[in-house]
Symmetry: C2
Subunit: 267 residues, 2 copies
């Protein structure tokens, strides 16, 4: 169980996760839908940022969404209630020891979760045992490594490195996206197929400039300002310079790119 969730549990962070989910719906969910009657485990649903989309896109599937945080689950439940989703149920449980019998689920969905785990390989092993024969797992994870922007900025890179380091100290890996293939194959999954999903943002896509560059990525980095300074990773001026440089990439001649990876495999 990881309690040092790097992004924190603040209201601002919850809004950021929801903004992110909105901006990324097409990119991440466009080819994710489950058939009528399918029983789907959403492992690590957090505040439900993906749950609503998942449930809406598969209205005749049944979604069981689990998370270790009671506070996050409460937020997820409220969102599901507001969205009047009839096909989602929630349960508080540790991802490493879920209270379900082997071969319970037709499919497993995992989004932005492995990056926070101390032992993602073990978690995938647990999830694989929950799958019925022929069932699939779908995993989305980001990777800070391919992040590029214009204008280039060492200050921005230093601020981003603080988030990477804090996540590492909490047992996670902000560069896990590139590892989906070896992680899934190593956990015994078959037919592993991974595809990258780069979010490319320039001024020709103003909604994405706002929703992704500003309110998703830059906001995520801003969110580690206090812990990064407290941990002695950076001083306030240097951090703020980095955030300004990230904001600069949202101007009219700026460009920002971030990459997610989607992995699909059978159990």
């Amino acid at each position: 169980m990881d309690t040092d969730y790097v992004h924190g549990y603040s209201a601002e962070e919850q809004q950021r996760l929801l903004d992110q989910a909105g901006a990324l719906v097409d990119l991440l969910h466009v080819d994710t839908a489950y058939p009528a009657g399918a029983l789907v485990l959403e492992a690590g649903c957090g505040v439900g940022a993906q749950t609503v989309t998942l449930a809406r896109r598969s209205p005749e599937a049944t979604i069981v969404s689990i998370d270790v945080s009671a506070e996050s689950l409460a937020a997820a439940r409220a969102r599901a209630r507001d969205a009047a989703l009839p096909n989602v149920t929630f349960a508080r449980t540790d991802l490493y020891a879920p209270p379900f019998a082997p071969r319970t689920f037709d499919h497993v969905f995992v989004c932005f979760v492995l990056e926070h785990l101390r032992d993602p390989a073990a978690a995938l092993g647990v999830l694989r045992r929950l799958l019925r024969p022929g069932g699939t797992i779908t995993v989305f994870e980001g990777d800070h490594g391919p992040t590029v922007f214009h204008p280039e900025s060492e200050a921005a890179r230093r601020a981003i490195a603080c988030q990477v380091e804090l996540q590492r100290r909490a047992g996670g890996d902000a560069m896990i996206g590139r590892r989906l293939y070896p992680l899934l194959a190593g956990a015994g999954f078959a037919d592993v197929r991974v595809s990258p999903r780069m979010v490319y943002v320039d001024a020709s896509r103003p909604a994405l400039v706002d929703a992704f560059t500003r309110r998703t990525f830059t906001a995520m980095i801003e969110g580690v300002r206090a812990p990064a300074i407290a941990a002695g990773l950076i001083d306030a001026d240097a951090f703020d310079e980095g955030v300004r440089a990230l904001r600069r990439t949202a101007e009219d001649d700026g460009v920002f790119c971030y990459t997610f990876f989607k992995g699909v495999a059978t159990g």
Copy 2:
């Protein structure tokens, strides 16, 4: 005119460019085709690695392919002859001062050229003036920045950095991909649309492991071994360690990702 072409003009390098073109045809050309009767300028055709695909995909367009290197043009002409392409003609000319009247071409195609130019903005200005009203420009460029791989390796990053630095010293920019939007918009083009094309390679795609990870990217880095050592950027052992680390990413649990950017705009 840039004579310090970072990749060199060797036979091995010509083969690498052709391997690369083969591996990337789908990724780069899938949405590039010109209608019957169109007059298309391929600016900087080099050894013709893209020319054959370009001409075959637009069999009723007329392609005029130019390059500054007589040696490259000879290779390109031989390839076009071998491929029995009836719709391509070649001309040796400087990209900055082509001998064509303004508004001569319906479309311009530029692939892996701007990265080698000292003044890509000026080159785009020249090309824009060659376009008829409403004509389009299509530009492909790579960017080493988003390159990630597994296993991660500092040695590999140092070897890659040699290629970036040599290209910079030759007046080029191995990170130009991310700048296509500001470059095209700044040169006066309208309706600029840029999309990233990430080449993602793992063991589930063995042909791409060979064609891209080994024979395109790793071979490109290996190609700067002698000049990198001669320039004092790295010693032989460190360089070779980096190349071994890149080759390691082509093994069964390895992953390699490289990103190209495609820009399309109207003149």
